[in-house]
């Protein structure tokens, strides 16, 4: 491993660099991180694109995600099967979207996905409640949660359907001053 073992071909690295906001080095580092998660599962050689997925439980254990109240949702919304199993591609994708360089629009899309617990394309009250409870570790009383959810929906709901569509969400989130700075994970 120490010597110049090829993990990716140059072509692959180029492709990854085109598809993500990472540099070559970062992609290699990502791979090593991914590899660290399950050394026996993840091959070192990715030149032939092995089909290998890591379960949610392993990924959520990363120090970057461990403290995040939305860690499960993050991983789930980046996995293609929706269950939280991430292939390396999705893994890279996740950190690319969460990287500093990703544009606001892209981040907003995935933020919406993350907060949409029941995957119905709307942030309804339940989603908000769940978000809030995760965020505050259920320290708020139900009445407070209720109030905050109502207020939040009231503020952002433009079409009056009592839930937030993506348009509502985007409109709200793009105006948030610190969304860009907080919605990112360095790796």
């Amino acid at each position: 491993m120490g010597n110049k073992q090829t993990i990716f071909t140059d072509e692959q690295l180029d492709a990854y660099q085109d598809c993500t906001f990472f540099t070559r080095k970062e992609i290699l580092r990502l791979h090593s991180r991914y590899h660290e998660l399950a050394p026996h599962l993840v091959p070192m050689d990715y030149t032939n694109e092995p089909d290998c997925k890591l379960p949610l439980a392993l990924i959520v254990d990363m120090p970057e995600l461990k403290e995040n109240p939305f860690r499960n949702r993050i991983v789930e919304s980046f996995s293609e099967d929706g269950m939280g199993n991430l292939s390396f591609n999705e893994f890279v994708d996740m950190f690319s979207v969460l990287s500093e360089m990703a544009p606001r629009e892209l981040k907003a899309i995935y933020a919406f996905k993350i907060y949409d617990y029941n995957v119905d394309n709307y942030l309804c009250k339940e989603d908000l409640e769940k978000t809030l409870n995760k965020l505050t570790k259920e320290e708020l009383t139900p009445e407070e949660v209720e109030l905050v959810c109502e207020k939040a929906i009231e503020e952002a709901d433009l079409d009056g359907d009592n839930k937030l569509s993506y348009a509502d969400f985007e409109n709200m989130i793009t105006r948030a001053p610190d969304f860009l700075s907080t919605f990112h994970i360095r790796i």
Partner: protein, 1156 residues
Amino acid sequence: MSSASEPVVGSSRSLLAAKRHRTVRKNSRRIYSAYRDHQQGSSDEEGGDDKEVDSNDPEEMFQNIQYQKEIIANIRSRPWPMRRKLKVLKQAREIVLKYEGQLTRTRGYQTAGADLLKKLYRVLYNIVVTFIPWEVRIKKIESHFGSGVASYFIFLRWLFGINIVLTIMTGSFVVLPELLAGAPFGTTRSKTIPKEHLASAQDLDTIWSLGGYLQYSVLFYGYYGSVRKIGSAGYRLPLAYFLVGMAVFAYSFIILLRKMAKNSRLSLASASDENFTFCWRVFCAWDYLIGNPEAAECKGAAIVNNIREAIVEEQEKKKDTSLAVLISLRILANILVLLSLAGSIYIIYFVVDRSQKLEQEKPELTLWEKNEVSVVVSLITMIAPSAFELVAQLEMYHPRTSLRFQLARVLVLYLGNLYSLIIALLDKVNSMSSAPHVSSSNWTNTSSTISSLSAQVSRISVSEHHNSTMATISTAINFIHNRSSLITASNQTIPFEKNARSQQDQCWETYVGQEMLKLSIIDMIFTVASILLIDFIRGLVVRYLSDCCCWDLESKFPEYGEFKIAENVLHLIYNQGMIWMGAFFSPCLPAFNVLKLIGLMYLRSWAVLTCNVPHQQVFRASRSNNFYLAMLLFMLFLCMLPTIFAIVRYRPSEHCGPFSGQEKIYDIISDTVASDFPLWFSKVMSYVTSPVVVLPAVLLLFMLIYYLQAIARSLKFTNNQLRIQLQTERTEDKKKVFQMAAARLQVPEASADKNPDQQESDIPNQEASIHTSSPQQNGSITNVQSPINRSNSIRTISQSASGADLNEGCVSGSVRSPAVIILPKHQVEHLPNRPQHFIGGRSGSCRSKSCHHMAYNPPSDLSNAIHTDPLYRKTIRSLHPVEAAGIIAAQNYGGHCGPTTRYVIVNEHRPRKKLLCSTTRIPRHYLMEEPREILELYPRNIKHYTPRTIHQQHPPRSHTSQQLRKEEEETGKDRKRTSLGKSLRPCSLPDHHQQAHFYIGERLDSFRESQRARYEMQEDDEEEAGKEGIDWGDFNLPSPSQTSVKEKESSHTQRQPVHSPRRQYQSPTRTRHMGSQLKPKLRGQLETHLTESDSASIASSSDQQNSSTDQYIHVIHSKERHLGSDVRQEKMSKKKSKTNFDLNYTESNDLICSNV
């Protein structure tokens, strides 16, 4: 990964791939329509690529390639899964690669070149990125403390970058040439240590106070030679020195402004005054960077506080604390702050003055005396912010406001310190240099005695100038007076400098540089000390002594040191200000600052990680970014002023430095222009600098500024307008949705008016099938009029179904889930009849789910309906308890009550509340009408139907006490019915409930009689028969009034009396239809199938005279139609079949009798 196996080569490959993409897209639920469109578009074009390319039209090909390139360029910003991105990228690349060369040769070369450039750029970028220092360290801090604390370190790193550039500039253009080509140490007078100082030149305290060898080194201005050209290449060092000095400021300005512009471009938020307090607090509160449990806990607590705060603010927007007290407190606080500012400024001035006197009086100074200026300044900068913080607690501002105040005060303090220091220094410089002659004149004052007329003139101008600059700093007025007078005094001495200078070794530029460097060093020492003392030792004490202390050290008094982002950033700014101030006089100051920043970086990060806790008040990182930068810019401007002032106003030292012998420092430019440039250039320069050019230029600038400002204002205005427009459009959209919904409601109503019979037949039919409320009539009619072909066919179907059901039910008997078994059969039965309706249908197993889905789809419509039609709502409400009961009673239940599920939808908005109110409401309904009947109402209904629909007795579990009572009453019955009843329970609930409605609602006397008879007939079969029948009859009597109360559809009820006796059978259905009139409308909103049912009803209404049979048949018919397109048809069909089954099964005999 399947992408590994890209099967086909060439054009067919990409076609296939495109197809696969599409399928993938279909499979993976694409959420966002905008992007879906985008993707669709792209995939289509991908599919079309080959054709286009094959067409060999170069233009098309070119466009295609352009398109593909666009894909490549933007692919990273698309919200696709990585696998797709990779695939699309590969494909696009291949296409580009394949066809680009075909276009033209030059284009091919171009792209090859571009590719090469891109690759090079990427490699360079990869290399550059590796040189960004402290990435890992900052990352670690970020993960521990979040973006707020990290922003400090990022800011520090950025400053470090600036200082590196400054160092390189000064180092390579000033210091290195001087070292390499300049006169070596000791050759000239300005580069040798005077003999009297030589002995002590290597003493520690001399070195410490930057004297001795350090004073005569490249560190300071005085060392640099004034030779115009040095070395063999003729390097113009003085010119370079001047230009670099200016370039330092210019570069700082440019880089700052660029950074600020970039930041403001990033933060869209500043433009909007919309406020999403709660949303932001929910969605943007969590800092995804946090990776440390402690920090996470802190953050969680902070978020909770924040939200609570918002709630409190929301609840009581205004607190009524006594305003007078608050105002007086704030005034007091401000007075305190002003006093401390003035005090600090005075102390600094006093210290400088004292040291100046001491120097004159004492030959040997102690270490303290030498350094007291810097020490005092550093002490003030350390202590005053804490004092301000204490004072700020008096004011009771909102934390954010108080933070702003705090920052502003600290900034003013720092600036005041720096200014008073530099001014006192300049003053000291002058007095020092002219000490032999005019030392007394400084203080004895009176410009008239000593100075000439010219000196007076200069004094006035100088004092004016100073006043204006000081006004910007807004320090205490008395201080300004004090200082300006002193400055005038100092300026008076300037003319004397010329005379007094001759013997002076002293070089005021070096002196200023020394002081600044000293200040910087002392500041560094104090920072280190404060970190160690305040943070580290305190942390140690708190951690290890908390056990043996009577109070909790960790949470009460000393606590752990907080990392105060704002103060620390301000300190950095202050530090940078010192550098800028001194950079001209001490070219190595930036280099020193680089070292200092490196040290600070490591020390701070270490301290933060080991012994600090995050700041309680969350200081918005991104918003503050520009705030920091703005302060830095302000600082830069103000720090530049003294330097510029010194350059412009003072005469450079006679015997040291690159500008010695010149009248003014900036003369170097004009000298160079005059001597080294061709004549025309100096002529041009003289023109350019003459007022003829300068004045118009300044005017032009002003005009430009005004124009740009006007443009900015208008842009802002249009921005606002657009936003308002956007908002109104959105609200209009909203309205439109409502209107459309309303229109859909209107249409069915209108049609109902046109041919009420049709509608009646239509709707009651639905009703009937929904709620088996009219089984008697329907049943009887069917039986009587069965010959009618349509009814026949349908009935037979349903009968067969029901027959099957019956068998099943009977056989399965006590088995819990006969309904489940039955259901699929029904579907099968009905499928052939209405295949088109079943297309959208779901399997019976996921009935409840589909129901749930439905609930989400049409909520707006439903709510509309509810809003528009209170009557309808009532009916809905009354249905609720049933629903609730059903939900609790059986999971099948939801599936059974097709239309009623819609009511569930209504519920789902406010599930608990509505359910509650609905459950409570029903009794109220009845209460209003017949208080006494309440108890009997339910039982009666149930008993009525028990003969027919055995399952009806199942007590809704969630029902109110009445229902419970009813339950008790019917336990006996229940026992009997368990066999069938349990399986069918769910559907029975809505049925019987609806019946209650119906019977109460519209009973004509004749009808009542017949019914009673019928009931009696039925009840004969039952145990409770006779009593119930009588009850029912009693109950029916007051019903007309109820009709009006409950149904309120006067038009329909009025029609009832007109009906022929035969049609009276219809009347119940019709009234039911009134209640349910909105249901078809609702359905109509959702689907077009209403028209189908209409046509069906037209067909059926052709024999309206046949009356209820038709209608009943039609009921099933239209019902199915309606529901057909719904997702819940199966449920409906099942239910309907059940009704049929009920009818067929139990009623037939009784009903026939009654009908006759």
